[in-house]
Amino acid sequence: MLTTSPIKLINGFVADPSNNTGQSEIVQVENGGYVDETKLETSSGHCPESAHQYENGNGRCFSKESESCSSSQASSEGGTLEMESELTVSSQREEEKAETNLKESSKPKILLVEDNKINIMVAKSMMKQLGHTMDIANNGVEAINAINRSSYDLVLMDVCMPVLDGLKATRLIRSYEESGNWNAAIEAGVDKEILENEQVCVRSTNRLPIIAMTANTLAESSEECYANGMDSFISKPVTLQKLRECLQQYLH
């Protein structure tokens, strides 16, 4: 039986980093998985690629807690002994870990929802230039699954996409924000099981900034975007300056 006090992740921030009890800090996520923080440090520090691709909405998330979660859940049965051996960590190391965790946590999580490969490549490169990495979703359903799984600080949403377009997806996300549930999304056909099994630990109470990337046609007009719950829009083609202004306005 573990005697450590679990730390809850809220909006990706470690709630109580200063747990200097000489014990290994375990991060608990709502789905019951326990994560050893040393694993957290490794996975977030060693992520080679800036983004993880979602495939069919079941891809791996760039969220450190869920990545470590899936690996530790698999070993949790036989993992007790392993965790106990971590209990004699020095307090200085814990502070360093907490600091790294905070630093990693304070990096904004951005989700790009786009189906066009060329657009993805260009946007990623521009974001990298601006010092950011992004997760990628290829349609509205993948976006919803991603948002359900992780707390994002900003979403760049292409309007025209297969499966579920950006306008509809945004409407469903706003419904989730207002109601606290994904009923509307499930009604619209998003996979219920995925939504229910992989929920983020604590839903952020802040409104998620969703920025439309629009080709500025009649169907994708700014009015349409606002009407469907988008906060702003970037008209294509996406440029460095447009992204920079967007980040300045919506990321704090």
């Binding site: 066009n116 490969k117 060329i118 657009n119 490549m121 260009v122 490169s125 521009m126 230039q129 025209c160 080709a215 294509k236 083609p237 996406v238 440029t239 460095l240």
Partner: protein
């Protein structure tokens, strides 16, 4: 040699093959990504070849599913816009207008022109990138690290 490269690039802009979006891509090139524009370009031509093939097949079948054609062209236009392929983009727009008008003849004509522009751009860019590589990194890498 570098002057030659610069002149070729300038002519691509002057003749309307490329627009300012291409310059946006060049801004993203640096020592860490010295061939970014060429890489994006390669992806574009690979992806658009696929789209052209799809459209070709759809048109060959004789059944004009304008909706489907328009969807393909939406993708094509999107990519073309993102890399600054100006003339190709123009043809995409025309094609979509014919789709919306249900004008099969117009679609066919425009598609023929589009393929021409696409092929021309491909050759010109291939030539440009080849020369740029030969000329050395100074011409392509804009940002010192």
């Amino acid at each position: 040699m570098q002057r030659q490269v610069a002149l070729i690039k300038q002519s691509l802009f002057d003749q309307g093959y490329l627009d300012e979006q291409f310059m946006e891509l060049e801004e993203l090139q640096d020592d860490a990504n010295p061939n970014f524009v060429e890489e994006v370009s390669a992806l574009y031509f690979k992806d658009s070849a696929r789209l052209i093939n799809n459209i070709d097949q759809a048109l060959e079948r004789g059944s004009f599913d304008f909706n489907r054609l328009d969807n393909y062209m939406h993708q094509f236009k999107g990519s073309s816009t993102s890399i600054g392929a100006s003339k190709v983009k123009t043809e995409c727009t025309k094609f979509r207008e014919y789709c919306r008008a249900g004008n099969a003849e117009g679609c066919l004509r425009t598609f023929h022109q589009l393929k021409k522009e696409h092929s021309t751009l491909r050759k010109k860019l291939e030539h440009y990138f080849q020369l740029a590589r030969q000329a050395g990194p100074k011409e392509t890498a804009r940002r010192p690290k």
